[in-house]
């Protein structure tokens, strides 16, 4: 029936634009039989290379994604799509503005997604913001190398750095921070004029906000150095620092990924690498949905295609 209607409609469209506009009024009459509205779930997912998707699928133990899933291109796209689709389900980053997009965050296994639950590990769906630097001695100058080391120390270990990252949306454990004034003693480089040094960064766009805030706040602490951020995607983070593009157009000093570096990406040669913040992945549904809590099991069933009705979700 649908097929026939569609063919009819496409004919209508063609007729509508090539001949008289009056012709199509008659044909709509008999097509107006409304069929019963189904509430089958529309499954939204990110493209296969997304760090968010990786974290999400790992958390729900997904083996094979249903073939009817709809791929969206970005976090914001996901929020918009689910916000306009009453039957949609998807997942976004914790820093998303849920209300503005007309979506509702779901508790995962009974745990509400929040900074506390992410930090204490009770909220299961999370991913790290990772960084990797160039190999020691490969920075072009020792001043730059020292400055990068100082920045990494500031970013990961100082109270000030962590505060900045947190205020920009990253989840960090402030209790582990040390005041920068103490750490700075190990980095004499910050006490000189560094305005001729430019640090370039590459990699994930998800880290952009936190990274920008951290870099900006570090500038006056470390002799007004310059920085260039070229955030294009997690894949480029490793490539441009240690991988195939490390000497090319897009070479960078520090690379970032919104996931752990995988086995293809050998970070052992780097001067330093690790993670500086955590981001949580939150399952979302349309704001009109009555659901408020979901289990990994249900999500697994929904995303593998065996569960297709919200009424059956328990």
């Amino acid at each position: 029936m649908k097929r026939i209607l569609c063919v009819l409609f496409s004919l209508m469209l063609l007729v509508g634009c090539s001949s008289t506009p009056a012709a199509d009024s008659s044909s709509t009459e008999d097509t107006k039989e409304p069929t019963a509205q189904t509430s089958s779930i529309n499954v939204y997912t990110r493209d296969a290379t997304s760090g968010t998707r990786e974290a999400f699928e790992k958390a729900i133990g997904l083996e094979e994604l249903t073939a009817t899933a709809i791929e969206v291109s970005s976090n914001g796209d996901m929020a918009t799509k689910v916000g306009t689709d009453e039957n949609g389900i998807g997942y976004v980053s914790l820093s998303t503005d849920f209300a503005a997009n007309n979506v509702k965050p779901l508790n995962f296994e009974g745990v509400e997604p929040s900074e506390e639950t992410v930090l204490d590990g009770s909220y299961g769906m999370q991913r790290p913001f990772s960084y990797v630097t160039r190999a020691a001695g490969d920075f072009g100058s020792t001043e730059k190398e020292q400055l990068v080391a100082a920045f990494i120390d500031y970013l990961c270990n100082s109270t000030e750095g962590m505060l900045v990252v947190e205020s920009a949306g990253g989840v960090v454990d402030l209790s582990k921070g040390t005041p920068w004034a103490e750490l700075a003693k190990n980095h004499p480089i910050v006490n000189q004029d560094n305005s001729s040094i430019t640090i370039s960064t590459a990699g994930s766009t998800s880290v952009e906000k936190t990274l920008k805030a951290a870099l900006e706040s570090f500038v006056p602490l470390a002799g007004n150095f310059q920085f260039v951020m070229n955030q294009t995607g997690s894949g480029d983070g490793y490539k441009r620092v240690l991988g195939e593009e490390k000497t090319g157009v897009n070479a960078a000093d520090i690379g970032f990924a919104s996931r752990s570096f995988n086995e293809d990406e050998d970070v052992s040669t780097a001067m330093s690498s690790g993670q500086y913040a955590i981001d949580a992945v939150v399952t979302i549904v349309n704001a009109d949905n009555t659901l408020s809590d979901i289990s990994a099991d249900s999500l697994n069933q929904i995303y593998s295609g065996t569960l297709t009705d919200f009424n059956a979700v328990k």
Partner: protein
């Protein structure tokens, strides 16, 4: 008055100019060779034995009906069909409207209105495609959803083949219209006057003489337009939904085009999944060449009849 040395100099300059023009023409057309070589070198490698991430069967690639990065299944057969459907359908939708709109602007509209409309069309040709994408995911999608609900069909929030078609039709509209405007303006006034003098009405003249005389230019616009429809990536990927299998014939079902496949996660990936996008690029180039050839021969045939 004629100075022999001057003559010699003139001749020399003439020769230099000719060589320069030829060199530039060769340079211009050599870029395509560089491009094709470059993309071939990258895109062929997954099909060669000894490929570092595991050789891909080219038959499966070309005729496959599933494309799933997560399982390493790469088949673009259905995507080619989807791409052809969406591009040609958008052309079908946009072509008559654009041509008639151009006719209106050049021949029917009062001077002031025509200038205004022309400027609007010119302006829209330079709207960044991402803005069209935003427009599509904001408005077109809602329209499609509403349309589907009339038929009692649920859609994936409006992302669908139909949304892609409407989006592309809107995007190629300025291209075809401005080319058609140029073509219609170039029609000889004498031809028109001759038709009017034979007692044809203004409208008959417009349709029978003006449009037929301008059809070569109009067709060139159509070719440019469909080129844009094939190559559009950013906006399309926002409403396509990137279906994992296909082909899609249902207007309200989600779809996947070659460009949206190339773009999805391009920056986050490496290895086979990265290289295979260049193979998709080769397929896209072939699709474009093929349809250009098709339209060009159609254009020549229509041209011959008159």
């Amino acid at each position: 008055m004629i100075d022999a040395s001057k003559e010699k100099k003139n001749k020399l300059i003439d020769g230099i100019c000719k060589t320069f023009f030829l060199a530039m023409a060769i340079l211009s057309s050599s870029f395509i060779v560089i491009l094709v070589l470059f993309i071939f070198m990258k895109g062929i490698s997954p099909f060669l034995p000894g490929y570092e991430f595991g050789q891909v069967n080219i038959i499966d690639f070309l005729f496959g009906t599933t494309y799933r990065q997560d399982q390493g299944i790469y088949g673009v057969g259905f995507i080619v069909i989807n791409t052809l459907i969406s591009a040609f359908a958008s052309l079908l939708l946009s072509f008559p409207i654009s041509v008639l709109c151009a006719l209106f602007i050049v021949k029917i509209a009062p001077k002031k209105l025509s200038v205004l409309m022309k400027s609007v069309v010119e302006l829209l040709a330079s709207v960044p495609s991402i803005v069209y994408g935003v427009f599509a995911s904001g408005l077109i999608v809602i329209f499609v959803k509403w349309l589907a609900s009339i038929f009692g069909i649920t859609t994936a929030g409006g992302s669908s083949l139909l949304a892609v078609i409407i989006l592309l039709a809107i995007m190629i509209f300025p291209t075809i219209t401005s080319m058609s405007i140029t073509a219609i303006q170039a029609v000889d006034k004498d031809l028109e006057n001759a038709s009017l003098a034979l007692g044809a009405t203004r409208t008959q003249t417009n349709f029978k003489v003006v449009l037929t005389s301008a059809k070569s230019g109009i067709f060139a616009g159509a070719i440019l337009g469909i080129g844009r429809a094939f190559g559009e990536a950013t906006a399309v990927s926002m409403v396509a939904g990137n279906k994992l299998f296909g082909p899609t014939f249902d207007l309200f079902d989600i779809t996947r085009t070659l460009t949206s496949t190339m773009l999805a996660g391009l920056k986050e990936t490496s290895g086979l999944d990265y290289d295979i996008r260049f193979s998709v690029g080769i397929v896209l180039l072939f699709v474009i060449f093929f349809s250009n050839w098709l339209l060009n021969s159609l254009k020549n045939r229509i041209g011959k009849n008159s």
